[in-house]
């Protein structure tokens, strides 16, 4: 699938932590080959999220995959979560080793 020369796309999603389980479930069922999550805090159009306690943190989710899939994932996310949740997402082209992994 996709190009084979080692170029892939990194999809980065930053959103409220409460979404984590649901978001990862969706990513998985849409075919994401893997993901990495770390905790974060931030400020955006929906105000400050300080990560001081349970309901107030962000997560930073990264998926490396083929560009088509990254676009599909980001569109899904945009349709289902963008309106009601604090969230941003962006795409970056990356060069990978062992492209067959992704």
């Amino acid at each position: 699938m996709a190009d084979n020369n080692g170029t892939r796309t990194l999809l980065t999603i930053i959103c409220e932590a409460v979404l984590e389980t649901r978001l990862l479930h969706d990513l998985e069922s849409l075919g994401a080959p893997g993901w990495t999550v770390s905790d974060a805090r931030g400020r955006g159009s929906r105000g400050i999220r300080t990560a001081g306690w349970d309901n107030d943190g962000n997560v930073r989710v990264e998926v490396v995959c083929a560009r088509e899939l990254a676009v599909k994932l980001s569109e899904h996310v945009q349709q289902h979560f963008y309106q009601d949740y604090a969230m941003i997402c962006f795409l970056t082209p990356v060069e990978v080793l062992r492209p067959h992994k992704f």
Partner: protein, 312 residues
């Protein structure tokens, strides 16, 4: 006797937060404290429950369940009358129909300090009261629509952190019994007040932020957040009379009625009613109702329970 130091820790947190001090507790500490509180409350309740269980308890549990359905049904029209949108009103009603374990911990400490007897299985009622209001809130917002994924939602609600910890503690207490639990007693004796004090310090810091956000959401919300505790307390006293609780138990059920959730329900609402504005519910519950209850409410509710019992 001076001020209650546990409450002063809350005030300290609020002041430090309003002055925008650098003070903040590590998130892992806050989580640890709330886990300890919930486990301690559950365990203590379970140990006593094992000693006092009676058939009457089943009836009482059913009444508490009804109370959990009634409360949001009272809060909702009140909020609609204050011209909140349907979904926001439903979400706030769910918060106020449910309970705050932090407030419960404060009322436990208060009753112990005052030497007032109460039914020791009250933690069971906390667990029961957590859930129905959430379901009622969703139905108020959505109707009995089919788009809600009830099975997933049910899992998220019933297996949420606070219910699992409360019920887990309860069950362990019941199964192990007082004698075997003895080595764990520090959790609800010597360690309880220190843990609660630190927890309230953090709650104060968090509340101070939500007080700021209240300025935006304005007067209508503040009115609700100050009126609803009285209503909830009255409902609690009413049910306590039906259930035949002691004065202490009645005051605690009143406190539960007056309290609003700020842990379990916000997470559930965020997933079930995402279009509801979370800062409305949290501003009201954390910024106004929680401080009101722990500073003024609890002594008031105890007094009311005493009058009521004396009058009967």
């Amino acid at each position: 006797m001076g001020w209650d130091p546990v409450v002063l820790f809350f005030v300290f947190g609020v002041v430090a937060g309003l002055l925008r001090s650098e003070l903040k507790l590590p998130p892992a500490l806050y989580e640890t404290l709330s886990i300890l509180l919930l486990l301690a409350i559950g365990l203590h309740g379970g140990v006593e429950l094992a000693a006092q269980a009676s058939p009457a308890l089943v009836g009482q549990m059913l009444l508490v369940l009804v109370m959990g359905v009634v409360l949001p049904l009272i809060a909702f029209p009140l909020l609609r009358a204050l011209r909140f949108g349907r979904v926001d009103a439903a979400s706030v009603a769910a918060h106020y129909g449910s309970v705050s374990a932090g407030t419960f911990a404060v009322v436990v400490a208060y009753m112990l300090a005052e030497g007032v007897f109460f039914e020791s299985y009250m933690p069971l009622f906390v667990a029961i009261l957590e859930i129905p209001a959430i379901l009622v809130g969703i139905v108020l917002a959505r109707g009995l629509s089919t788009t809600t994924n009830w099975s997933e939602l049910g899992r998220e609600i019933f297996l949420g952190k606070s219910i699992v910890l409360l019920l887990g503690g309860l069950l362990i207490g019941v199964l192990a019994g007082k004698e075997a639990v003895a080595p764990l007693e520090p959790l609800y004796t010597s360690m309880f007040a220190p843990v609660l004090a630190l927890f309230l310090l953090e709650m104060g810091l968090i509340a101070s932020r939500h007080m700021g956000s209240l300025r935006e959401s304005g007067l209508r919300l503040a009115i609700f957040a100050l009126v609803m505790p009285w209503v909830g307390a009255a409902v609690g006293l009413g049910f306590a009379t039906l259930m035949g609780l002691s004065v202490g138990g009645a005051a605690m059920l009143a406190t539960l009625g007056a309290s609003a959730s700020y842990i379990a329900v916000p997470a559930a609402m965020r997933l079930a009613l995402p279009e509801a504005n979370p800062s409305l519910s949290l501003g009201a519950s954390l910024g106004i109702t929680f401080p009101f209850n722990i500073i003024f409410g609890i002594p008031l509710y105890l007094q009311a329970a005493q009058w009521l019992q004396a009058g009967v």
